[in-house]
Symmetry: C2
Subunit: 309 residues, 2 copies
């Protein structure tokens, strides 16, 4: 199975309490692919300017990404600069330059149109519709969004919900979208508009998958060093979709496992700037972290005889 | 095994988006006992004024609480009034009247001094020391505290850490106490000053137990209706200590299970005002909720042959 991923391919300048990185690889499609290619082939669609260091994406191609859908145009690449606060849970955007991304019109190469899995990164819902118009056979379509589109392009976004199987957003976004503070009710609101599954990402507090009649909660991994949280959500999405595509299944067991692999990749992404950690993470490290996740929440509910409550 | 609990016995007036309650049962010792007595006998030490409706505490005595350590004095009972915001994650204190609690000097009745388990509710660290001076044989001492004491009575509190086995605080408190944003590092800081275990309560995001060389994370239970979060932390503590005392064990399995029972009781506490829900919750409902917690995080890490990552 292969995954089509459409999103931003960007350059980021990031300051954290631990250091700074200038014009490093970033963007939802880059983080997603860096995680997903550890499990499954990925076909990437995006746009960059003539300033983009495309050679630095070669590690993605080396592990199974098809980058032929990344269009290079005259002009500047999407650039984002941000500074994280002391506790790393909040950040200020210092600068956003859309560059060639402002006129992005995703054209899905013929070869990519039979992808079984589609990830629509956080872009204009109108463009997310355009992608789905070109890819009609996908079994699993997941999409992300943000407050900007929830406020500014709400009708198109709500239409889109009828065309996706999985909505992946953070807790603030799902509350804003549904106009409902209670997460469970907010997820039900989304589900009533189409998506079979809602995944709510809660940063350091983990993530919840809401299915029709069950829930799955994976905690945030207690890292001793959170170095740079940029891209953790897209890395989560990549690990999740990558593992799901590899399993070729949508059973509760497969979805639960994919949630944990997603969380593992999200936690690795935080360990260094940009995709540095995702570039060199080894299979045994991923397995070990998944095992750590298991130990983190496992308990034996069995109560010995005589224990009445 | 029995538990000695020292804390506030109060009257609360609470406003939430769903309604309001006036001068209802509240205070750390009341919530703690309402949860802990479901598992184990509890001996309560506190003080109330002559306005306190002691008869309303009879349900605690009926299920194994010894209330003879609650002293009644001339004057007003500890009174707290608060209003929760729309999302129930934050609240404003409208009024606090310490009343007779201002001069509380815990006197531990002779009969209570051989308790195996001790819970020191959130009171002046000096008084927490006084309790421990009177109870020397306890095997498991747990204590709570708050920002007021962390700022105002820090030295005494840090001394106290050398005398307790479990510190139970919320995430803001442990960060403030340790002067460290990273939760894992903050917990290690506390452990280096005495406590073998640190439990960090994160409200709707669950709770983490930090042991020397393992961690356990229990998520917040996704309730459809959070009615009133007052006392959830003390109810958690009661369920945790109650189950621990009942098991008579401090093995990782017993501690993990106690964390889940604590979380179950914390979630029930939020379903109605005051201790109303804890008053009538049935054993089968508690077991069902523990089973829900198990399903919420359980996954099969086993990867079928051929799955390389």
């Amino acid at each position: 199975m292969s995954i089509l991923c459409v999103g931003s391919v960007a350059l980021d300048s990031v300051e954290t309490p631990f250091g700074q990185a200038d014009r490093v690889l970033g963007g939802s499609a880059v983080y997603f692919s860096a995680a997903a290619t550890l499990f499954s082939p990925v076909q990437v669609v995006g746009v960059v300017g003539d300033d983009y260091p495309l050679a630095e994406l070669r590690f993605l191609a080396d592990r199974g990404a098809d980058l032929s859908g990344i269009e290079q145009r005259r002009g500047e690449s999407f650039f984002w600069a941000g500074r994280y606060h002391y506790d790393l849970n909040s950040r200020d955007t210092l600068e956003t330059k859309l560059g060639v991304f402002a006129d992005f019109e995703p054209k899905i190469p013929e070869l990519f149109r039979d992808a079984s899995h589609v990830f629509l990164g956080n872009i204009d819902p109108k463009l997310q519709h355009d992608v789905l118009d070109q890819v009609t056979s996908a079994d699993v379509v997941a999409c992300d969004t943000m407050n900007y589109w929830i406020e500014g392009n709400r009708d198109s976004l709500i239409d889109l919900l009828g065309r996706v199987r999985i909505l992946m957003v953070n807790d603030e976004e799902v509350r804003q979208l549904a106009g409902e503070v209670n997460l469970l009710k907010a997820a039900r609101w989304v589900q009533s508009r189409g998506p079979e599954f809602v995944i709510v990402k809660k940063g350091e507090h983990g993530a919840i998958l809401f299915a029709k009649d069950w829930l799955f909660y994976v905690p945030g991994f207690p890292l001793e060093e959170v170095f740079d949280p940029t891209g953790a959500g897209d890395s989560f999405a990549g690990g999740f979709m990558g593992h799901l595509a590899r399993s070729g299944s949508m059973t509760p067991a497969a979805l639960r496992r994919a949630m944990v692999y997603g969380s593992a990749l999200g936690s690795f992404a935080c360990e260094r700037f940009s995709v540095e950690r995702l570039r060199d993470v080894r299979a045994d490290e991923i397995h070990d972290r998944v095992e750590e996740f298991r130990k983190l929440t496992a308990f034996e509910a069995h109560v010995p005889a005589g224990d009445h409550v």
